[in-house]
Symmetry: C2
């Protein structure tokens, strides 16, 4: 079973953002907008990026500055180009003016343009050069950046609030845990910090994906569940792979049925993640309620359609919603080194399995040994499956955090397959879980739209209120400490 | 000015302890004592130490085991052989029976026998092999050890209490901050976590040393303060170094007056640190109130004694209390790589200066540039003077910890020169400062003796009460969580 990444890597950011600067440069006070958009124009300077630097996007348009303790909203960049996250985290941009906040999007090292050793080629050369690609190093990068930046701006007194979605949400929660002196609180959206070892069953993720389809239509669920055997039968026929390639309109003939299985697996998984109630273009341009749409196509195919024809009609919603694709390309270089795969093979070891009864995917028991051998083969590295819980906690984390820690929001939508590995219950008065029945993968972090359902509007209002509480408390304590 | 290490490195542990095992070995349930002493006999097995392992000493004699949630008392090993700390941390051994606690003394990597790369020679080869000698790595080692050990002993439910003195105390406090899921609380004794950057004045340390002498006798203080010029005059005379070597009875002729200055500086600094109210043998065999003794010798020398003769009589209390030394050896290999010097040149950068008015030492303004150049010369490394406060906090740490963190005792004696860089005020109800007027360097961690003054007995009783409170709370929560 393929490792499920949080994000597909083949996205091109379409909106452009405020400039990034190298870690050592002095940011200017404000970057005036030269477009009528909420997002600022492109002031990006390539030459500022020298070896080992973390790129970051900064916006000070609404920042009220150090004298008024203007807060700094920091999104913890995750496993892709930081511009992608800046564009898809409209919530931070929406609320920054209200708070008079600076916006900061630092990029995670080894992604986007933040390459140690001077280039992607050098950084990804081998297990030695990749060994600095870890969550802890990313957190340390953020800590260094914010400390330096605050010093440069004489903004040491300004409170920092962390944001993050998915792996970025994990980083936000972990950063609040590990660097409470740097950030006053964290909104960790769809952050599966418990998807490790035996804390939640390995089947959790695919069960939730499956349930997302089943709740739309049990016949849709059944069709998908049956389709894997249909694939196996088909490929065993003479000329099977060629026929399958034709049925699914691949530009080139499939090399194995596994490639097709992975392609379908990805589609269903991402569909469940981005099952938003309005049209969106996060991973792919998709209609509102895309899982419902896929099932409408599967169920609504002409009565004489075969299972595989139905499947093809369904996943075309994901891979070809705009209708512009003539034939589908599989990833051309499946053996190219991907940063997330490296992280999954070292510390972010998330057991994944598929239950033979409750899942619509092929049954699969999590097999750590096989996983480990794959990592040795691909990266010449042995995973450390227990490291994350040792470093950040996991087992019984609610007991640890109840008496140590504060100011974290774990927000989750139950449609999101990652919600099963996240924190879904309040831990204390200040470490709270916001759970929405109809939410998908960090939908709360997206920009507000006219189509937002009430529950989403309310969820964001609660988040704003909690963040306001953290900042009010911080100000109260600052004033008390300095007799302001 | 010489870097002041927390401990002189030329100590031989005289008492022997419970066996160490390698990280991966399964410790046996109990190690029966084969001596009548409180410390257990030597069961140490060299062959268990393979490359990259952390040595640890373990004692389960009084441990009530997993079924009764027997606590685990973990001393965070610092910059020397762990046996030295085990021998000099009698408090943990004294109280373990009362708590039914296991005792664990893991060794800090790169010290004692815990050498990565297989040997000390390999580990200390160059800046690359030394790059894993950091506080963060030591904390991670402790976290891995305790997690593995608990798993092996099915003791996951057993609470861990951290102890540490000096740098070990810093590690204990930092570990509680960074790994609250692993330890329920920390007793950080004489832990100067604020001795960084500009948080306390660089002159703090030497001012406290100087005050320790001044409070015994102002003429003693004056004699020492005058002695540096006397040295300078002496060395400028013909044959000056040879005469000085003779006056101070060095076995070999001094190579520079700086060597003598450092030798004296060390003596005064360590005397202030171990200024205990009873005879002890921590750094050197010393009488009770050793600073008072030194000043008695300086002031009480024959009336016609020169300043330098008085100084020699004084420091002989430190270097030759037992009278067994015929002549003094200076460190034979001052350019050998010392682990603590490496740490001081990378992340543990503690600014040190000497005030021309309040200090009895030669005036010296902290000069970071000169320090940095020394590090480049000695280790080919550039220090990161702001890293520790970025990683662990420092500036305004009381505000950060007031609302995030719990269960830390910062204990300090005001005679201890390191107390000036520690936490001397309560931060919250559960992050408390225990300050004693007459205490020296982590005296509370030493074994109880018949000569203990009342304030020390009371201090330790308070510590026991606070630790009991952490454990009671932990048990209460465990019972509530599991409906025991």
């Amino acid at each position: 079973m393929a490792t499920v990444s949080f994000l597909l890597p083949f996205i091109t950011a379409v909106l452009l953002l405020t400039p990034s600067s190298s870690l050592t440069s002095q940011p200017s006070d404000a970057f005036p907008s030269n477009t009528p958009m909420r997002f600022l124009g492109k002031h990006y300077t390539e030459s500022n990026l020298s070896a080992n630097n973390t790129r970051y996007l900064i916006n000070t348009e609404h920042w009220v500055g150090p004298s008024r303790f203007g807060p700094i909203f920091l999104y913890c960049g995750n496993e892709d180009d930081i511009e992608l996250f800046a564009v898809n985290t409209g919530f931070v941009w929406d609320i920054a003016p209200h708070f008079g906040a600076m916006i900061l999007f630092p990029e995670h090292r080894y992604y986007g343009e933040s390459m140690p050793f001077g280039s992607r080629g050098e950084a990804y050369r081998n297990a030695t050069t990749l060994s600095y690609l870890t969550a802890e190093q990313a957190l340390a990068d953020f800590a260094l950046l914010i400390t330096d930046l605050k010093k440069n701006l004489s903004a040491e007194g300004c409170p920092v609030v962390l944001f993050g979605g998915s792996y970025g949400g994990m980083l936000a929660a972990w950063m609040r845990l590990k660097y409470p002196h740097i950030a006053v609180g964290a909104l960790a959206s769809s952050a599966p910090i418990l998807q490790f070892e035996d804390i939640v069953p390995p089947e959790t993720f695919y069960n939730i994906v499956s349930n997302s389809f089943k709740r739309e239509s049990s016949s849709c669920f059944d069709t998908i569940k049956k389709s894997w055997n249909a694939l196996t039968s088909e490929v065993q026929k003479e000329d099977g792979l060629r026929q399958l390639s034709k049925t699914f309109r691949f530009c080139r003939e499939l090399k194995s049925v596994q490639d097709l299985t992975d392609w379908l697996d990805s589609a269903y998984s991402y569909l469940a993640m981005v099952n938003y109630p309005y049209p969106a273009n996060f991973i792919m341009p998709l209609p509102a309620h895309p899982v419902k749409e896929v099932c409408r196509k599967i169920d609504g195919s002409p009565p004489d359609s075969s299972i595989l024809e139905r499947i093809f009609n369904g996943v075309s919603v994901f891979y070809n919603y705009t209708g512009g694709v003539d034939c589908f390309q599989l990833d051309d270089d499946p053996h190219g080194i991907d940063g997330w795969d490296w992280q999954a093979c070292t510390e972010i070891v998330m057991p994944m399995g598929s239950d033979r009864n409750t899942s619509m995917f092929p049954a699969y028991d999590w097999d750590y040994s096989a996983f480990r051998e794959g990592c040795k083969r691909d990266f010449q590295v042995t995973p450390r499956p227990r490291w994350i819980t040792t470093e950040f906690g996991g087992h019984g984390i609610e007991h640890a955090l109840k008496f140590f820690g504060s100011n974290i929001i774990f927000s989750n939508g139950l449609l999101d397959p990652w919600s099963g590995g996240s924190v879904l219950k309040n831990i204390s008065e200040t470490i709270v879980a916001l759970v929405t029945e109809e939410g998908a993968h960090h939908i709360d972090l997206r920009a507000s739209t006219m189509e937002d359902p009430d529950w989403l509007v309310e969820q964001r209002a609660t988040e704003v209120k909690l963040i306001q509480g953290w900042l009010d408390n911080y100000m109260k304590n600052m004033k008390a400490a300095f007799n302001i």
